[in-house]
Symmetry: C2
């Protein structure tokens, strides 16, 4: 089979293409950072690459004009729509026909995903499960020696530790003692288990906190001997190729025999690769990463453990395990020490997972004795409310609108995405601010835009909706009012669309379906919050905490104004960043905090939104945009009529 | 390379020989039962086989006259000495030159080794560590379900068991529940660990008791749900090829880098093969053998665990581990369930191992509050004495004489070996009884012998010595007195030898060096016993227990008369069979017995023979044969003069 050299820049990764390989196939196999949320199906337009024909002396390659296959129809459509920049190709469409140098532009690289860097700090004492103890065992004498295992236990007893070496340690005990004049470092876990012994010159043990999101995986590696963050990285969750959202992945498992094994393997391999990269970057020995604390929603949690999630895809949504769960890392094929342990933080229920409890841990003291609402907004919104000495939790099916998905111009919260919007009610022109740039872009006249806009991220969507409502461009029921600003609306099939950014070749539009998606999401979240406040009898909040990357880009006044959290005032709303990952790190830092969480979670009351009759009522009420003008027929907001009302906008 | 077919009978095993392969090489590779204690070096004459030239229609092979290489010098010498029966070959010397059918006669097969079959019974209640519990979990309802892990724990709680499923169990919990209408069998260990879950139709869990001797390995498989012995087998310890005795194996490890790994691999592979054979024979599932309790002397124990024994080959003889030790079976590559556990019974000291504590467990109640001596005679003799509420133990370096090794006509205790001897003081002619036949062979006139005699086993050696002493054919110092029976003595180099059995072509002689070997062995054992009785102030025994295959063939009156156990009367002496293996089984049968042993062993006082000055004195005193006539110069019994005195016998 003919083979071609493929060199990726700027990483310098070299790979080989053969057969019908696309650039995406080669990149995936070679571990090149390349965004994709559709899994190489030509749908998301994320995997953009650039190829420059000609001689690349540095790599000893001459790239021919025909090194890649011709532009496909989907690429041509993407160019037409301004979604694919001129000169670029979609990696998943372009087949490799000759040696080629492929440049992955910054905006197509995974690690550019903006996981908040501000959120790596938290307050707790360093008291991890794994501790190091330098020991010197007495020289043995002839008569009736204790065994060396007994001598080791006796030496540890002086630290208040009762532990005997297990097999892995035992077999290397005597050689280490012989080589180091009977000195060694004992690696002890939970003050009761000798998990390794080291020569007396290794002084640092490391731990990894991992947040396994359905979209991306975040890794934080800490030096647990010093309490310092040593490394962090994030990457796409490769399960995305089996389904973008959680339910489509569960469906994949239901419909494909062995599907769950593929999903499990995909996420574990990604985590293992990230850990290996950390190990290499930090020049760690094979046995130095000894603790892993991981969080994730229930489906991510189960799949990472190798448990089929199918029971979570159908009522009665029974978790295989809910409590904190610990497992030797070797059973998850993570490629770290045989002795390392993985701790999965506890879950609250079928739809409220360890990511939520991780976030809760970071706020557990702040929430104690106060009325605090903690909201983690993603494809589902998980909500935790403390009030009157009790804690309750629920999950609301917001759908992916708040993450920028299902929005026609939606993109993930990465460079170039709109995160702030101001619409002039008089002219309908919009000023925007994009991620990666502090200054506001000027008016929506494209020629004046200093930076190219890639689309709207989840937080930008909020502001668009509030601004549209405030300007009177939509009514309370969420229908466009094109008569309010004829200059910015154009016909869109049977409906209308609103011109938000008029940049050349890549105009950004808001469609009626976008409004609907946001409406559904905000209604679901608001209804969930109301069920919880009802449940605990909470009438006002001391504080409202927004967790997740989403919250970082939000302007709290807009959160208050759009009404997704009934009763929340702008000055109560605070973003707490990637609290899930921080909770994992916090649990790793301090065993007592971890135990506190385990206990606390057992007392959280789970409120089921799916079976609560009031949920529907609250949902319908929350569909409205309160600051918008009344619609012609207020009754059209009824949930049962949404489809019909959408048709009528035409 | 030319290849030849080799078929072994009676097993029917088919194999292929190529290159320079000997019959032994082929047999070893093919797993044919064939004795060897020298590891194929042409030294032990054990690996005898028979080849019949001609057409073997059953196997479609015609065996040529030249199917094997010519007789080697060592074979010719063996024939001359009567050690190799006419018509037989040594498998380790005969190279395969053509297709051949090789018959392995019964006396050359490993499984013929006579491990006592009488000793498989012991008295204890069935209360093993692993128990089965049939459970039915409640159907899940919609609101706030417990997880299935919690439901399983709750169901077990009704049996008084507090346990949560671990990873291996958790991943298959929901599928098993779904398939079996929420019924399952929980496999629980130690009342606190769920080690497996089974569909609700498997009702038997099995356990293996293993006695890892330096010569042979004995396996007993029990149905732990019913308390029945289901299978037993024994095989050579394949480590023999690295050294026949313990110290030569330790030397092998000291002199050869990676040697201990080879020894470990050899014994584990043998045990794994025996377990697999048991599993297949009993038609067990892969996961049904869940407990293993193993015993062995300290070096066998350490090597089986994968611990280098080199610290046991040099002062100060420090054990890596002495207490009972448990290890997942998967870490020892035993090929049984991932969840199975191996328990190594505790050791007493550097030379007193888990085989001794196993034997002790079977007698622990019998020894309590009484003066009882327990002796396990092998290459070392391990001795345990209870007296006055205390227990002490020692090891004596007897050498292998009692096992028939280092005796010129010595053989292992297998079919055809002399186990009883009566010598007529008047004529010097001997009647013998051989293993496998109840009647006595007639007078030593070879023509009248109904069965062929292969040699003398350890127990036979005892009687020979006692009879020679009683007849006055040796003096108290152990020197031959040829003048007492000129008809049976002939010159042997500078010394003499005594004709014991005059069978045609295979006379059996007792040599002066044989007397010396037995003298050294009996003196070592007697000295060890005296140190122990001194230590505890014990002046007489209530009972003397002999453990091991050796004891089974002993006539207790001869044990008393030869004086190896100073103070022991014939009617106090009792054989307790393979007590080591039985102790392993007993510990497996009953957790409380096992725990009792662990506690008791911690209180056993270890007496060091190597460093005790009195040992030498006692040793010298015990060299004498008390019933023999005085020697010309009584002083020659002094240990320092033995070599010289040996020269003088010429």
């Amino acid at each position: 089979m003919t083979q071609h050299k493929v060199i990726f820049t700027p990483s310098g990764i070299r790979a080989t293409a053969s057969g019908e390989d696309t650039v995406y196939d080669v990149a995936l196999a070679a571990g090149v950072d390349l965004q994709s949320i559709c899994g190489g199906k030509g749908m998301c337009n994320r995997c953009q690459v650039e190829v420059e024909p000609g001689s690349h002396a540095k790599y000893g390659i001459t790239v021919g004009e025909d090194a890649l296959s011709d532009f496909t129809d989907s690429e041509k459509r993407a160019i037409e729509k301004g979604r694919l920049q001129p000169g670029r190709r979609l990696a998943c469409r372009a087949r490799v026909l000759g040696d080629v140098v492929v440049d992955v532009p910054a905006d197509a690289r995974e690690y550019d995903t903006s996981i908040s860097k501000t959120s790596v700090a938290f307050l707790t004492d360093l008291a991890p499960a794994v501790t190091l103890h330098m020991l010197e065992l007495p020289q043995q004498e002839l008569d009736d020696n204790p065994s060396d295992a007994e001598a080791l236990s006796a030496a540890l007893r002086r630290f208040g530790i009762e532990a005997s070496p297990k097999h892995r340690t035992l077999v290397k005990l005597q050689p280490i003692l012989a080589k180091n004049n009977r000195r060694l470092i004992a690696v002890v876990r939970d003050d009761r288990e000798i998990i390794d012994i080291w020569p007396p010159e290794m002084f640092h043990v490391y731990g990894a906190a991992i947040d396994i999101g359905s979209t991306s995986i975040a890794l934080y590696v800490y030096d647990l001997s010093q309490g310092e963050l040593a490394y962090e990285a994030s990457a796409m969750n490769p399960q995305i190729r089996f389904g973008e959202d959680l339910m489509s992945r569960v469906s994949y498992c239901m419909l494909n025999k062995g599907g769950e094994e593929k999903l499990t393997k995909a996420v574990r391999e990604q985590v293992a690769a990230m850990l290996e990269q950390a190990r290499v970057t930090l020049s760690l020995g094979q046995n130095q990463i000894l603790e892993v604390v991981a969080v994730g929603n229930p489906i991510m949690h189960h799949l990472f453990l190798g448990i089929s999630p199918v029971e979570l895809g159908q009522a009665p949504f029974t978790l295989a395990v809910k409590d904190q769960f610990q497992v030797p890392a070797r059973l998850l094929d993570l490629g770290i020490s045989e002795s390392a342990r993985v701790t999965m933080l506890p879950l609250i229920g079928g739809h409220v997972g360890a990511d939520t409890t991780g976030a809760y841990l970071t706020q557990i003291d702040a929430m104690e004795g106060r009325s605090v609402l903690l909201v983690d907004i993603g494809t589902n919104a998980e909500i935790v409310l403390s009030h009157g000495g009790k804690v309750a939790a629920a999950s609301s099916p917001t759908g992916p609108a708040f993450e920028g998905a299902e929005i026609s111009a939606g993109v993930r919260a990465s460079k170039g995405a709109i995160e702030r919007v101001r619409i002039d009610p008089a002219t309908g022109s919009a000023r925007v601010r994009i991620i990666g740039h502090d200054e506001w872009n000027s008016d929506s006249d494209g020629s004046a835009l200093p930076h190219r806009v890639s689309g709207i991220c989840g937080s930008g969507i909020f502001e668009v909706m509030v601004e549209l409502a405030d300007a009177g461009f939509i009514d309370r029921g969420g229908l466009f009012r094109p008569e309010a600003c004829p200059a910015r609306f154009v016909q869109d099939g049977k409906s209308w669309k609103f011109l938000l950014v008029d940049q050349p070749g890549a105009q950004i539009w808001i469609k009626q379906t976008d409004i609907r998606s946001v409406q559904l999401a905000k209604a679901a979240l608001a209804a969930g919050v109301r069920l919880l406040t009802d449940h605990l009898g909470c009438e006002s909040f001391d504080e409202v905490l927004l967790a997740g990357a989403f919250g970082n880009h939000l302007d709290s006044s807009y959160v208050a104004r759009i009404g997704i959290i009934p009763g929340a005032e702008a000055d109560q709303i605070r973003s707490i960043g990637n609290a899930a990952g921080m909770g994992a790190a916090m649990a790793m830092f301090n065993r007592a905090e971890q135990q506190k969480l385990v206990e606390a979670v057992r007392h959280i009351e789970k409120v089921e939104t799916a079976t609560e009759p009031k949920f529907q009522d609250y949902f319908v009420e929350a569909m409205a945009f309160p600051s918008a003008p009344q619609s012609n027929d207020e009754n059209q907001q009824g949930r049962g009529r949404r489809r019909r009302s959408r048709d009528r906008t035409a």
